[in-house]
Amino acid sequence: MMNRQHSFEIEKQTTSESNLLILKGELDLSKAAELRAAADPFVADTQRRLILNLKDLGYIDSTGIGVILSLLKARHVLKAPMGVENIPPKIQRLFDMTGLTPFIQETSINVNQKG
């Protein structure tokens, strides 16, 4: 059980509205590339909202925050919406501390070009 709790997993769900990535476990330097690879194919899909659900994310460090920041930047350039949702309090605290939070808010209200 310990192992499952600490490992990192990404669950993907695509609907007509959104590409949803549910992140589970611990996102650190060893897993940042995995998230980038999983999310990259969806960045250019401006027809759908890109959503990261962090409900089951237990840990993140600056490398994970860096991947989320680069996704926000890419979606911002495309004027495509991206949501980062269900952020646990201890992770929200790190987002506030680093200054990521305003960018999450800014990118969540981007309007889909065909919207």
């Binding site: 650190d28 330097l29 600056s62 501390m97 200054g99 990521l100 800014e106």
Partner: protein, 149 residues
């Protein structure tokens, strides 16, 4: 109480996949000493950031070195030293320049220095030394209410 004998040391490969072992050890020791859950979570991130820097910057990819982590119990806190024996990359300079993303636009921000910024924000004291490698010394004090436990 003689605290000199209460130091816990780990030597591990300077590779990303081993950093979780440092976090697990820190969690165990932090709980034993009586730190709050929040303080332990803060220390986990800060210590991992110091390890990240060593893993990413200290050694050539073809030559994986080692990472030494030492946990020293203080009278009213915990001192964690993260040391590598690799290339020193002006860490002291980076520490001076580290900043958050605040007051910048999404177009101009980049993630450089964020790890060091977090390290400073999450610990009470951060010291960096370069001498044939990089040594980062992180200290967290027990708050008054924790000490009474």
């Amino acid at each position: 109480m003689n605290l000199d004998n209460r130091t816990i040391s780990m030597t591990l490969p300077a590779e990303a996949e081993y950093i979780d072992l440092v976090r697990l050890t820190l969690y165990g020791l932090g709980t034993k000493i009586g730190f709050t859950y929040e303080d332990i979570e803060d220390m986990k991130v800060a210590v991992a950031e110091a390890c990240n820097n060593a893993v990413v910057h200290a050694y050539e990819p073809s030559n994986v070195g080692t990472l030494e982590v030492r946990f020293e119990r203080l009278d009213s806190g915990l001192k964690i030293t993260v040391r590598d024996h690799g290339y020193s990359f002006n860490f002291e300079e980076k520490v001076r320049q580290a900043s958050s993303l605040h007051d910048k636009s999404l177009e101009e921000v980049n993630v450089g220095g964020l790890g060091i910024y977090l390290m400073q924000a999450l610990m009470d004291e951060v010291e960096v030394r370069n001498d044939g490698g990089t040594e980062v010394v992180l200290t967290k004090w027990l708050s008054k209410s924790e000490e009474m436990v």
